[in-house]
């Protein structure tokens, strides 16, 4: 669908594009290194760093014991001392173990110390449900991090974006939490992944497709689900603008305001529980701006149920928005508000 796919046909999976970004960064500069549980010969729990230890050696692709607080803290310290660590936490749920170093140390050091020090650190971690791993291995915790000033929070939805965003995250002089949906690792996106080392800047929302009937803002895997819906409804004459913020903190609202002013209808979609969720921030910013006056329909929210993620597949599916839910919601808003 994009111009890019004409010039090259590199349909990588997200695991591959992330590996490519890390490989480029580690080749470009020797202060970048990767550290985490099983990132070496195992290639990380989801194979993202597969073969990287062979290429860069055990000193730059460092296997650690199961000690999340220790390894994130060590990454903070190494960052303060002139390195650019990438830390992989095996599941985002276990950032909880490391939360002091993330929230109280990394996020605050630059501001709190009057700018004397800064923390160029990337914390990569898989999130999300759909694998039957139950409540302690399936959460979408993006809201936790977005609620802590001092952290940049990136939620890529496809391999091409993941590569460019990760390169920018590694360049960034601040702590960046990079949240990868585990169901996206194995699949190629719709767009080919560019060959070079082009960066995609953090803090720029992407308009994935344009239409004048409804604006959908979605994060992570919900971008893909919303795309399917937009495609299907386009055939029925319902045209959707789909916006992927990509960086949820800082948040680029401009394309969202612009689109809502045109469509007058807004549907926001996330996988994490609705209570206190990131999408509420999008709604608040629309509501407190002049864009609010352009709305012709109440804003609609689709989010995970306010429950821990259950195990059995039939329960797990029910816990988070599915393509059918997005389709129903999108169609209803457009039909009921003219």
């Amino acid at each position: 669908m994009s111009e890019k796919s004409d010039t090259n046909n590199r349909m990588l999976t997200m695991a591959e594009s992330l590996r490519e970004a890390m490989t480029i960064a580690m080749t470009e500069r020797d202060d970048v290194f990767l550290m985490g549980e099983d990132v070496g010969i195992y290639g990380g729990a989801f194979g993202v760093s597969s073969e990287m230890q062979n290429k860069f050696g055990e000193e730059r692709v460092i296997d650690t014991p199961i000690s999340e607080l220790g390894i994130v803290g060590a990454a903070v310290g190494a960052a303060l001392a002139g390195m650019r660590p990438i830390v992989e936490i095996q599941f985002s749920d276990f950032t909880a173990q490391a939360m002091d170093q993330i929230a109280n140390q990394a996020a605050k050091i630059h501001f709190m110390l009057g700018g004397a020090l800064h923390v160029p650190l990337v914390l990569r971690t898989p999130q999300g449900s759909g694998t039957g791993a139950a409540a302690q291995h399936s959460q979408v915790l993006e809201t936790w991090f977005a609620n802590i000033p001092g952290l940049k929070v990136v939620v890529p939805s496809n391999p091409a974006d993941a590569k460019g965003l990760l390169l920018s995250a590694i360049d960034d002089p601040n702590p960046v939490i990079f949240l990868e949906h585990k169901l996206l690792y194995k699949f190629p996106g719709r767009d080919a992944v560019p060959e070079g080392s082009e960066r995609i800047p953090l803090g720029v929302s992407k308009v994935v497709r344009r239409g004048s009937d409804l604006t959908i803002v979605a994060t992570g895997i919900m971008v893909n689900k919303s795309w399917d819906v937009a495609e299907k409804l386009a055939a029925e004459g319902i045209n959707i603008t789909l916006i992927d913020p990509r960086t949820i903190s800082p948040l680029d609202m401009e394309p969202i305001h612009e689109s809502v002013r045109e469509t007058g209808r807004l549907l926001v979609v996330q996988e994490g529980p609705s209570h206190g969720g990131f999408i509420n921030e999008v709604i608040a910013r629309v509501s407190e701006s002049p864009t609010f006056g352009s709305l012709i329909a109440p804003i609609k929210r689709l989010a995970g149920m306010n429950i821990p993620i259950p195990y059995a597949p039939q329960l797990e599916r029910a816990a988070v928005p599915q393509v059918e839910d997005i389709e129903v919601a999108a169609r209803e808003i457009v039909k009921n508000w003219r």
Binding site: Y42, P65, Q97, A134, Y311, A312, Q314
Partner: protein, 333 residues
């Protein structure tokens, strides 16, 4: 549900005890094999962490416990759960996402708990159960219940902060808790050689003032004897003990494991140290059970597992309705 018939005591103290120990080791083995099969046939989803090769440690420890004694367990927890007396049908049903499963299909393999047998729950978080066992021991002490709490965990978990903080609390408060470390040589791909700068993991107790013992985790008799001593110490107010049971996991860490970090020879070598034949040879030596009796025990274990699988397969699936109501325990009026 079936009644809980646990027989506490030394596995060589009588024919009944020997039968019990062997039966439970076989049950764990057959259970894990059945899980592998269900997975292979696509009937179970999610992931699985099998404890094949580690049956003696779970069994030996639980043979020293009363029903009221409590355990916390791990992602590799089927064996602990069975050895503590859980109902096999409800376990399999949980793995299959059935309503009668221990968690009503909400928890799956990594989260089975059974209040009746004192199992406070498996855990998806490495090290997550360790402070919880310490808390259970604190409650036992405050309520003068006279029970002990056992935390099962892996070698890998010993490097989590949770272990260290929990160990110190248990030591200074002299709590009736046992830190039972199943050292199967790996935490996923990370070997104990790489993850520790000490050889005997039970030495970790030294820094906290907790006595530690290291035993052959594939010898149910040795495990039992260490467990019995630790239980006696805990129940008499002596405080915590660390038991390191040295063992080996035959299967990959989980389904996605390609076993790149160890050799086939190493796995084969450990298969020769299989805890079940090891116990059987002791039984022969002591003339406690005949081969016919031993074969019958194996058959019984197999039959029990097959019965559980058949019952669980037939059971009704869990339904999504009511999930929201399940988040909080109702506040009683």
């Amino acid at each position: 549900m079936t009644t809980i018939q646990l027989l506490k005591g030394h596995p060589l103290s009588s024919k009944e005890h020997a039968t019990h120990a062997l039966l439970y080791m076989w049950k764990v083995r057959k259970f894990e094999e059945a899980v592998k099969d269900l997975f292979g046939r696509g009937m179970m989803h999610g992931t699985m962490h099998l404890s094949i090769g580690q049956e003696a440690s779970a069994t030996g420890m639980c043979l020293a416990l009363d029903l009221a004694d409590q355990i916390t367990s791990t992602h590799r927890g089927h064996g602990h759960c069975i050895a503590k007396g859980a109902d096999l049908t409800r376990m399999i049903a949980e793995l299959l996402g059935k309503k009668i499963g221990y968690c009503g299909g909400r928890g799956g393999s990594m989260h089975i708990a059974d209040v009746e047998t004192g199992n406070l729950g498996a855990n998806g978080v490495v090290g997550g159960g360790i402070p919880i066992a310490v808390g259970a021991a604190l409650a036992s002490k405050l309520q003068k219940k006279g029970t002990v709490a056992v935390s099962f965990f892996g070698d890998g978990a010993m490097n989590e902060g949770a272990f260290h903080e929990a160990a110190n609390l248990a030591a200074i408060w002299k709590l009736p808790v046992i830190f039972f470390c199943e050292n199967n040589h790996y935490g996923m791909s990370s070997s104990t050689d790489k993850a520790f700068a000490i050889h005997k993991l039970s030495d970790r107790g030294l820094g906290y003032g907790i006595p530690g013992v290291t035993v052959d985790g594939n010898n149910v008799v040795e495990v039992y004897e260490a467990a019995e001593a630790a239980v006696a110490r805990a129940k008499s107010g002596g405080g915590p003990t660390i038991i390191e049971a040295v063992t080996y996991r035959w299967e990959g860490h989980s389904r996605s494991d390609k076993n790149l970090y160890r050799t086939k020879e190493e796995i084969e070598e450990w298969k020769h140290k299989d805890p079940i034949p090891k116990f059987i040879s002791i039984l022969h030596e002591k003339n406690l059970l005949s081969q016919v009796e031993i074969d019958a025990i194996q058959q019984q274990a197999y039959d029990e597992i097959m019965h559980a699988v058949n019952e669980a397969v037939k059971a009704e699936s869990a339904e999504p309705s009511g999930l929201l109501d399940a988040v909080f325990k109702k506040v009683s009026a």
